[in-house]
Amino acid sequence: MKKTIFVVISCVLLLGLVLASCADGNGLTKGEFVGVWPKGSDPTVAYFNNIMSRLATGLNWTDVEYTGTQDFEIPADWVTIWQGW
């Protein structure tokens, strides 16, 4: 009887470990969010100055005090689709 209980508990634990290892969103790899702006862009380009001049002239976006942690990404397969449209 004890042996049976031990085997059942072991199986449950093992199943738990297997499920936990697969639990990242239906097998998806894990995602994270990262700071991407303003590092991923040059806030001094005309687009930004143009927008800001129409919104609140005088804000100097070269003076931003923090930086993002990495660049943003656009998937290559999407770009391929867009180029085919």
């Binding site: 790899t29 994270e32 969010f33 990262v34 800001m52 990404e73």
Partner: protein, 463 residues
């Protein structure tokens, strides 16, 4: 002998009652109402942020006000304002009535509910720091309070977070620009869809975008306005319409549950467009799992991002919050900053009376370093007309000229006020009244470099 024993026991019992009262919570209390949709993360993190600040302040000995230490005591108020706008004011009134010593409210998430909460705060002379609702309209009339009796109550209304919709538009457009410039560099014309909630705060942002996107040389595609509680039944056809319209960018303006539905369904339908803008739900660390990874590549504006040190207090705050509550904070957790600034105000003014603190908040010299940046109140007349213009009067401009620029504003004259607000008769003043206003503030937080700005975060697959 029995009598002596009785006396000893009685004395010990009395001491037992008195001593704990002296050790824990001996300080007088400052009661603060934290009011928001507490059954939602938006309200839950609002309270968590305030609670973290209160715990830190109390553990450090309380707020020193004129030599007396006060403890912060929070009262959680579930306004249910996401599901029931109309009753939000009634709920808040009940909380004010039940807590007559509370002179401060931190909260107010959904604009449609906050418009019912503000009159209650005004009527009861309780200072309210809006923490969550972004609509610029909520404070557009605040500068009038010293002059027009009907607006007198606005002296009690401030915003603590986020920066208002005028600047949310500007910040979002810069993020959009970041992506559109990259898309254009790939030889593809940016074609931008808009996916926005049908809520008040989103209106000026959408209207501004519809005008500015073509002006930037980009194409404006399908525009979807949906409920903040929309299901896949509504969201799926809109996403399919966006793909059919060959949009490569989706500009998002969402604060409610629909944000999760959007990303979940976008991933499930494999819509090949990069989402950028505001999706409050995407600020939650659970979002990847909530959307089955459908949020991959999505970019949203955030108040904080992992590892991004906006100020010296940002990372310690994020660490403490995650330790205490087990998740990354949503932007409404800026109640942490609001409460810390309030404690600073009480300390520097030497009063716990809300009336005494108003002028301190209105002085731009008292801007405070928070986890979000330097927070202060506008020393200039700032007005959002046409949905997105920020009209800042220039200190060097001629008297009759409302110019553009940043500077300390001298008085606005009647001509300038008429230009901004229309004829003075709209405000119970005789037409043509030549009144002049000193540089009163909007009670809104200052946006811009060296003050509070936004940052963008993107969901990426972990390496």
């Amino acid at each position: 002998m029995k009598r002596i024993g009785f006396l000893i026991i009685s004395t010990l019992l009395v001491l037992g009652l008195v001593v704990p009262g002296m050790v824990g919570g001996a300080n007088p209390k400052i009661e603060i109402l934290i009011a928001g949709p507490m059954t939602y993360t938006q309200g839950g993190d609002m309270y968590n942020g305030a609670e973290l600040a209160a715990n830190q302040i109390n553990t450090a000995g309380g707020v020193d006000v004129g030599g007396t230490d006060y403890d912060i005591e929070l009262v959680k108020v579930d306004t249910n304002e996401i599901d029931n706008y109309a009753d939000a004011g009634t709920v808040l009134l009940g909380a004010i009535t039940a807590n007559p010593n509370a002179q401060f409210i931190i909260g107010g998430f959904r604009t449609e509910g906050v418009v019912n909460e503000i009159p209650v705060a005004m009527a009861n002379n309780v200072t309210m720091f809006i923490t969550g609702a972004a609509s610029y309209e909520l404070l557009a009339e605040a500068p009038l309070y010293p002059y027009i009796p009907a607006y007198a109550g606005y002296k009690y209304i401030f915003r603590g977070s986020p920066f208002n919709t005028v600047f949310l538009l500007g910040n979002s457009l810069m993020m959009l620009g970041m992506v559109a410039v990259e898309v254009a560099s790939l030889g593809v014309t940016p074609r931008i869809a808009i996916f926005a909630e049908s809520l008040t705060w989103a209106d000026p942002i959408v209207e501004g975008a519809e005008a500015l996107i073509p002006a930037m040389g980009w194409e404006l595609g399908h525009v979807a306005r949906v409920s903040d509680k929309a299901s896949s039944t509504v969201v799926d056809p809109e996403l399919n319409a966006i793909e059919a319209d060959k949009c490569n960018i989706i500009w998002t303006v969402m604060s409610g549950d629909v944000g999760t539905v959007f990303s979940l369904r976008k991933g499930a339908l494999d819509i090949p467009a990069i989402a950028v803008g505001i999706n409050v739900e995407a600020q939650a660390a659970s979002f990847w799992g909530d959307t089955n990874g459908g949020c991959e590549y999505e970019i949203t504006m955030g108040t904080w991002a992992p590892g991004v040190e906006v100020t010296s207090t940002t990372l310690p705050f994020l660490s403490a919050f995650e330790t205490a509550y087990g998740h990354f904070p949503m932007y409404t957790a800026a109640a942490y900053d609001v409460l810390n600034v309030l404690a600073t105000a009480m300390n520097e003014v030497g009063s716990v009376n809300n009336e005494d603190l108003i002028s301190w908040y209105e002085d731009p010299a008292n801007a405070q370093n928070t986890t979000m940046g330097l927070v202060g109140n506008y020393p200039v007349w700032q007005y959002g007309s046409f949905g997105y213009w920020s009209m800042l009067a220039d200190k060097d401009a001629p008297d009759n000229d409302v110019g553009f620029g940043v500077g300390i504003l001298p008085a606005l004259n009647s001509t300038q006020i008429t230009q901004i607000y229309g004829d003075a008769s709209n405000y119970d003043m005789p037409a043509g009244t030549n009144f002049t206003m000193p540089p009163y503030t909007t009670h809104d937080i200052i946006y811009g470099p060296t003050y509070v700005t936004g940052l963008a975060i993107q969901w990426q697959e972990a390496p």
